[in-house]
Symmetry: C2
Subunit: 202 residues, 2 copies
């Protein structure tokens, strides 16, 4: 496993966060020792204690990092209710892509969240704001009245989460790579949104 | 952690499969020792070697078990192309529920498949038959021509997979339990299918 290089540019604390996210994501919290993380991060043994008090503290900080970083762009797209049907559609498109991009960028952190079934605050905020956005689209008549907004947020997030989680598996099996192939990513987003927006029934 | 009871009814080999699925699912393949599995299964130390040759062999058998057990009912529903629009709708309903039920029944096995990103044969067969079923529904005019069948199978399986995978987390956070609450499970299936079939747009 490639180590995080000891460098003047990345401080020891950040190296520990990077190594922790990678190793927790791969092996689970229980499966990794403090010693292993320090070795991978190229720091001396007592550094986790120094910066995070304990392995638990390191996990905590990784979950907080997820909260700080992942939903910045998606949350901006949800700030105001949709102004028109066209605005609603284009914001749904942007939101789907921005969430996918955020999950791809922070895949190591995401894998830890999944493994530990953590509950980052920012995810709750995102889901709530997304549902509120859909509710106001419903009031304006852009979304059908029968639709349960929380179903839409759930379906979209499950789809994105799994595609990013299983990207290496999908690449091995189907030869397509969402993480690196922009054209495929674009098509994938459009195809999914087409189903969420208009359904499959003729 | 509750051990598998040593009993005349469950043979040692099956106890090892049960314990292996549970422990691999919780801690990952790397995170569990042969010793731990034997202890949990209440067998003597050399039994994994005796029945499965190695820890790898045990994992292999667990993945095969998944193939044998999980998709029996869903595959039956996909055997013939839909006869009418009504038949298509009711088979989609039954298929969604049957797949959810199968994943719930075999949740321990499923968690191993997810953790190890294994590739059970039966999953491939299921996805291919499901896509073929949708393609014939498309030919008959029940599904829109623009729809990519593999998107539908992916969206439905991702949704079901995550709901079962994160069921304990969802219960903690939202107080609803898909694994035990039949009425909620019923509503959940209907709400999701409503989106997949008809989309959200007014």
């Amino acid at each position: 496993m490639p180590k995080v290089r000891k460098s003047a540019e990345i401080p020891a604390k950040d190296r520990l966060l990077l190594s922790g996210a990678l190793l927790f994501g791969q092996k689970g919290f229980e499966g990794v020792s403090v010693r292993e993380i320090c070795k991978h991060a190229n720091t001396s043994m007592n550094m986790i204690h120094h910066y995070f008090e304990s392995k638990d503290g390191l996990l905590q900080s990784i979950v907080e990092q997820f909260s700080d970083q992942v939903f910045v762009v998606p949350l901006k797209l949800l700030q105001k209710p949709p102004k028109s049907k066209e605005d609603f559609h284009s914001r749904m498109e942007m939101l789907f892509e921005a969430t996918l991009d955020a999950y791809i960028d922070q895949r190591d952190l995401l894998m830890v969240i999944i493994r530990e079934q953590a509950d980052p605050e920012a995810l709750t905020e995102y889901v709530n704001k997304f549902a509120a956005f859909l509710d106001s689209a419903k009031k304006s008549g852009y979304v059908r009245k029968e639709i349960d907004s929380s179903m839409i947020t759930g379906i979209m997030l499950d789809r994105i989460l799994n595609q990013v989680q299983f990207a290496p598996w999908i690449k091995r099996k189907h030869g397509v790579d969402l993480l690196t192939d922009d054209a495929y990513r674009q098509r994938w987003c459009e195809s999914n949104l087409e189903v969420f927006l208009n359904g499959m029934v003729a």
